[in-house]
Subunit: 570 residues, 2 copies
């Protein structure tokens, strides 16, 4: 069985499947916001489309709408003025389950074709999406385009590739024959049916609504589930546009649009707890805070739950060749999007005795000073600084910065605002850099989300490694960066940190950063420590979203004489 | 990397992997208890080995032993008199975690080789195992040999095959190159490490300790986890022997024996709740009652939980060619092991208007009578009857039979004991067959484990289908058997029952029975209704037992002139 959309996207699918196995660099959707690629008018068209969304209701013709909800405020200092359908879950969820029946009955080719077509249309609207992501999350434009657009689309395609492989792993039908006596053979015709797990809920986050939302959305959708998308109230628009496009493609190809629906809510009337524990819900994908994610894991026990939570990420600085290249890389990592990535490093562990470099030994304070200097240089150009930092998504992050600065740690660099010419009212802060002793675990051995960096003086690299692994085991960690010119130190650090379930990056300088994770090659969140129980993407991320249920029909076999033994096995 | 045990068992592994994909008939371990296959002295040796276990402590030199526990009573009317190490979990679990480190660090080849070697040795001791399974579970000898021996070993091998495929799906290392500017290429050497999820616990059941225990045991073990085996207090010996063999093989090949340990307990001092919720535990495999299984799902939220629970299985009798062949097949299904299989049919739905057969129309009472007659014939030969029925594992099943007989339903056949010559004190009952109306849902719409059969008069086959699907959705179901000569009825039944997540068997006569499930072809428990959340075996059953955690190291790249562009992707 095939499907026109499957045929249209078959090459992309096959290349994606190959990429998940090869795990070298590969991407389906161009990351450069270039007119040559996306069309000369794409940028202007996208900006206009985004502007046209503002100050009006976002219409979605889904069942159970009982009002309008939504009050997104841009971190860039404007309000969006958009409202979205407010859903009666007691109507929406049964409707989603009903819509799921036809979708579940479709062949995998049809579902995979529709899913890639949805991504393809989202890709064509990457400039509109960039506006929506930028103005709700506070990301700079380039990051909003890349991470909110093509990189998120790649992550969605990666999930579809895994779903395709899993769904086609079992034959659709087979003849089973067993010799049951000297003269008799039993023969069964077996058919294997894919049955989706149930209505899936995607709980989005406020910082990377599409990048973190697409893997679960497309993994569930491709495997035959209906999906209810529950955006963070601070960043609804990117996922609302996604839902709109998905419904459009579904409807065009003969499926019920309610296979994908939106369940928006407001900060002061959250619906997530009710939604994820409803009996119709068989799958939950969650991205967000550790505290709430753990609540979901412990309470949505009727569903299979995939979480991407938070953690305390570390840099271990042991020894380097080129200190300037290293501090430049670190400065970008801690500044990018004001440290609001779940992969951003929080703690930089350096021996109190300092660091060997190719230019000789540097003291702890020399190295800490070099990091501060590198951040100051990077953000010294106001236009570049504003683009790198973006804006602070959540008001509470500002309070956290003030709290951290006032707890007695030595302030090496203040979180001074950087002027944003384009958006003078933007909520901007630059990295607060603090110096602490390893004994001050009350300060650095906790998650302090945002542009807050602790440079921790340890008794040596062995203790740096130990503290990194301890934080990962107890609090979770998504990344770890290690700098050493000694292969033995690298190996020891790698062993300890990998055992704690943390992906390790070694000696990064130049244009690759520890907080970046590339689809088809890097696994995002290991699932092996408290930072989450799932990974983007592996087989485990899709395999439980559907079940294989078989039918077997006995078919007649001519009785055979004993001498004509047909061995059908042992 | 390879390993001598991997080389020894490579052909078996490769054939097993191929079988999981082809899903025709295949088996690695011969199911016939034949001297030609297992050795002429194997039966006598195995019986002697079993006898030698009785009336003494079962020694396992594992840490944290604080006493002896165990009081297995055979359903055949004897006591075993064996005690097992009683474990202090606060010592045993940390020891298991410690032992896991070396095991986790081994290459997949070494682990898979060791696992298949363990199965191979268990296979050679299938007669000893048959004695242990028979005398603790109450199965007849042939079933104890097959289901407790080779069939269980096949299920274990199936899990290992899936584990091998998942572990080798990602390359161990790869070079990643991306063009990051007109002149620069970033190059990372990436390595992918397999990290086990944590200490695994296997909670065994009293009826099929090895068949239901081996998939989880070997899936966890192959993927690098330490495994603590927690047998049902009514059937400890088969899993204790398994643990003994596993420890022997591990130790011989340089691994710590504590990678596999035993945590036995007593009926009056159960430890399962404490065990499965301990922080060291990352995986739980559970087989047993629905009530306790649901407790595990809801409370062991620190772990990934795989459950095989119970359900209400149905036969839908619409129309048949050969009524005698059909009732003969049904009689065997409901009699085998006194209906103590989680796959045994409980409810037989027949239209009140009767059934068309090749010999003309038969009334409801004719058909019900034919089923009773077939059971009476099958069990009429006392020796055959005793072998088929085995004995009743749990005293409470006897009470349940009495309860069912006394609730006002018309008794078509009493659960009269069948004499067991070899074991005169055996706890034996034959199927109680009751006639009820579809309106008496309080009687048949509940799980009544044991030799209890309700023949339900429905308003027609459509209602039979509806009631079957309803029971599956609400109470779970592991099997469904449908008899019809009308392809349209078969299709309607199949659609409805598959949607409720129940594997369907159609028109079984002869030597294949609905309660049998063949490794490498049939998925046991769908995971798609309340009868359990996992399947023996699919990728989902193994993929979450370990994680891939990566390291990436930046390596130097010569800067290139713009004209020498190296495209490493888009």
């Amino acid at each position: 069985m095939s499907h026109p959309l499957f045929d249209r996207h078959r090459e992309t699918l096959e290349a994606a499947v190959a990429a998940t196995r090869a795990r070298g660099y590969w991407s389906a959707y161009p990351e450069m916001p270039s007119g040559r690629i996306y069309g000369e008018s794409a940028k202007a068209d996208g900006q206009a489309a985004f502007q046209a969304r503002l100050e009006k209701p976002f219409e979605i013709d889904q069942p159970g709408t009982v009002g309008q909800v939504g009050a997104e405020e841009s971190p860039y200092g404007t309000t969006l003025g958009i409202t979205y359908p407010q859903a009666d879950l007691a109507v929406l969820l049964p409707a989603a389950r009903q819509a799921m029946r036809g979708w579940a009955a479709a062949e995998p080719e049809a579902r995979v074709g529709v899913c890639i077509e949805i991504l393809d249309r989202i890709n064509k609207r990457s400039f509109e999406m960039a506006g929506a992501v930028m103005m709700t999350t506070g990301q700079g434009f380039m990051m909003a385009f890349q991470a909110g657009g093509p990189h998120a689309q790649d992550r969605g395609l990666e999930a579809i590739a895994y779903a395709w492989e899993e769904m086609t792993r079992v034959p659709r039908q087979v003849t089973w024959e067993k010799k049951v006596s000297k003269t008799d053979v039993a023969r069964l015709e077996k058919r294997f049916h894919l049955v989706p797990r149930g209505v899936a809920v995607v709980v989005g986050c406020s910082t990377f609504p599409t990048w973190n939302g697409y893997p679960g959305l497309f993994a569930s959708l491709a495997t035959g589930n209906a999906v209810v998308v529950k955006p963070h109230p601070g960043s609804i628009l990117p996922l609302a546009i996604t839902v709109e496009i998905a419904r459009e493609v579904l409807r065009e190809h003969g499926f019920e649009a309610d296979v994908v629906t939106l369940a928006a809510d407001a900060h002061d009337a959250p619906i997530t707890k009710e939604l994820v524990t409803r009996p119709e819900v068989g799958i939950v994908d969650y991205t967000g805070s550790s505290e709430f994610g753990t609540w979901v894991e412990q309470n949505a026990t009727q569903a299979v739950v995939f979480t991407e939570k938070a953690g305390v990420n570390a840099i271990i600085l042991d020894s380097v060749d080129d200190l300037k290249a290293v501090t430049g890389n670190i400065a970008f990592t801690v500044s990018l999007y004001s440290g609001q990535m779940c992969t951003t490093s929080q703690n930089i562990f350096i021996s109190k005795d300092g660091v060997d470099t190719a230019e000789g030994h540097k003291s702890f304070d020399d190295v800490a000073g070099a990091i501060v200097k590198a951040v100051n240089w990077l953000l010294g150009d106001a236009r570049r600084g504003a683009e790198i930092l973006g804006a602070i998504q959540n008001e509470r992050t500002l309070q956290r910065i003030d709290q951290a600065a006032g707890e007695g740690a030595e302030v090496l660099r203040e979180a001074s605002p950087v002027e944003n010419e384009q958006f003078p009212d933007a909520r901007v802060r630059s990295p607060l850099i603090l110096k602490v002793d390893h004994s001050q675990q009350n300060l650095y051995m906790r998650e302090m989300f945002g542009p807050i960096v602790y440079i921790v003086a340890t008794q040596g690299t062995d203790q740096s490694i130990e503290l990194t692994a301890k934080a990962a085991r107890e609090l979770g960690a998504l990344t770890c960066s290690v700098y050493s010119t000694d292969p033995d130190v690298l190996r020891r650090a790698e062993d300890a940190v990998i055992e704690a379930g943390v992906p390790v990056s070694c000696n990064l300088t130049g244009q690759v950063f520890v907080n970046q994770s590339a689809a088809f090659s890097d696994f995002h969140v290991s699932g092996a420590n408290p930072s989450g129980n799932a990974t983007f993407c592996d087989a485990a991320f899709v395999a439980t979203r559907f079940r294989v249920v078989q039918s077997r029909v006995q078919v007649p076999v001519e009785a055979q004489a004993p001498e004509a033994e047909t061995h059908a096995g042992v």
